[in-house]
């Protein structure tokens, strides 16, 4: 990316390298949120609705894992995916899928913990009705998840925010390779360390704008949905 122009000029001129970086950032973080949701929502619902020994401990653990330091996750995933590590045969290190994996690890506890809280609260409200309708466990879970959909969207947004904002995990497992694993946050880190602060600031503003846009979109969808369904 040419570094003697400001990021604003790059955006306005439709610089392809900048857009490639933005596309990669969205691809990695959105994929991680989708995977984290597929794992975290059922997991959170399960913990909310079933009694098992050690349940309180699991809840505390899930809440604590929301604060996993990204660099620690990055290091752990790096060691796992390295050719010398247990999953080395897949050759995933320094690729976009490695970044997705690392961010999924970061985001899943957030979605699981928030889902657990939401579903548990909703269960208290609906327990009598759903039990009286003779619903089995699967029926109850799907009813609760669907009814909680707006709060769950908020949980997904929290997860996306975490993923889009972090750099520690993906810079370790991705290697910040130009054209392949360089995202908005890793590009900002690089340009800052090269001393090109105006460019770094510009990229930062673009990133913030994107996160705001995603949130605004979700908020509009939520408002429309709530108007329809109360």
């Amino acid at each position: 990316m040419p570094s003697d122009t400001t990021a604003l000029q790059l955006v306005l001129s439709g610089d392809p390298a900048l857009f490639a970086i933005v596309r990669l950032s969205l691809y990695v973080s959105l994929s991680a949120v989708v995977l984290a949701a597929l794992i975290g929502i059922p997991l959170g619902a399960l913990v909310a609705l079933t009694k098992f020994p050690g349940r309180q401990g699991v809840i505390v653990l899930l809440n604590a894992l929301m604060g996993l330091p990204p660099v620690v996750v990055g290091l752990a995933v790096y060691l796992a995916l390295s050719r010398s590590g247990p999953l080395g045969a897949f050759g995933l290190l320094f690729t976009a899928p490695a970044m997705i994996i690392a961010q999924t690890v970061l985001v899943t506890p957030i979605i699981a913990a928030l889902t657990r809280q939401t579903i548990e609260d909703l269960w208290i409200e609906y327990r009598d009705e759903l039990t009286a309708m003779n619903l089995g466990p699967l029926g109850r879970v799907t009813a609760l998840i669907w009814d909680a959909r707006f709060s769950l969207v908020t949980a997904l947004l929290a997860g996306f925010g975490r993923a889009a904002a972090e750099v520690g995990a993906i810079i370790i497992v991705g290697g910040n390779i130009e054209g392949f694993t360089r995202t908005m946050t890793t590009a900002i880190a690089l340009e800052t360390s090269k001393g090109d602060l105006p460019l770094a600031v510009g990229l930062g503003l673009v990133l913030i704008a994107i996160v705001i846009a995603v949130n605004a979109l979700a908020w509009t969808a939520r408002r429309a949905g709530e108007r329809l369904a109360g």
Binding site: E125, Y126, D128, E129, T131, A132, M133, N134, L135, G139, A143, D147, R149, F150, R227, L228, A229, G230
Partner: protein, 240 residues
């Protein structure tokens, strides 16, 4: 008109319900048979709600037996209950009913027809697409009734259905209850409103501190109460 089902009679045999050291129901012997509505009355805390839950199958007795049509442990396929403050799902009124139909295993092909019939029955036809949580208290109570009836129950339990409603809404709900009873669905209802009990009851069961103090046909109960507790209660005095 419905053929007599296997849910009835519901027979309580020495049913006691305790929660820790507290006894909520003690040694209940009761038969709920097909026919006119059975109304449970008594002061707050007398155990009416708990008795309904046991009859519905939501709560197991700590001691004693309960049978439906002579059998124990019958799943609540043809029983339904309406709670005092029913929980509305975050969807439209019609969708709430469709949910109940699905939960009851009614074939999908029948959903549209039954939904509109039920909405008409409870007078919510024009509010089918309104968000259920936006309905008024009375409308929500009527929707809860429609949801319960969606299960095609043989027995309908109602826990103080009009306690939080104004007179207009109360009348609407009582009219529906009468209609339901005329369709041969057994109604078992708890209320603390004596006027309502008089209006709807075929039989009266009076509870006090977890025990049945008196049961009788409605006319006998209101005109010739046998027990001191019943007389005190009917006189409008506090029964402690």
């Amino acid at each position: 008109m419905r053929a007599p089902s296997s849910e009835l009679p519901i027979v309580f045999d020495g049913v006691t319900v305790t929660a820790g050291a507290v006894t909520i129901l003690e040694d209940i012997a009761l038969t709920l048979a097909p026919g006119a509505p059975t109304v449970l009355i008594g002061p707050n805390g007398s155990g009416k709600s708990t008795l309904l839950r046991v009859a519905m199958g939501l709560l197991a007795p700590s001691r004693g037996r309960i049978t439906w049509g002579g059998l124990e442990n019958v799943p609540p396929l043809r029983r339904a209950i309406v709670f005092q403050r029913p929980a509305m799902l975050r969807r439209s009124a019609a969708a709430n009913i469709r949910f109940a139909l699905r939960a009851a295993g009614i074939p999908r092909a029948e959903h549209a027809r039954r939904t509109s019939e039920l909405l008409e029955l409870v007078g919510l036809g024009s509010l089918a697409d309104r968000a259920a949580r936006r309905l008024s208290g009375g409308e929500q109570q009527r929707l809860a009734l429609a949801r319960a009836l969606a299960r095609d129950p043989a027995v309908l339990f109602l826990d103080e259905p009009t306690a939080s409603l104004d007179p207009t809404a109360t009348k609407a709900v009582e009219d529906i209850i009468r209609t339901v009873s005329e369709r041969n669905i057994k109604v078992v209802m708890a209320t603390h409103d004596l006027g309502e009990a008089r209006r709807l009851a075929g039989d009266v069961v009076m509870l006090h501190r977890g025990r049945i103090v008196e049961t009788a046909a409605a006319a006998s109960f209101f005109d010739r109460p046998q027990t001191a507790e019943a007389r005190t209660f009917l006189a409008g005095e506090l029964l402690v």
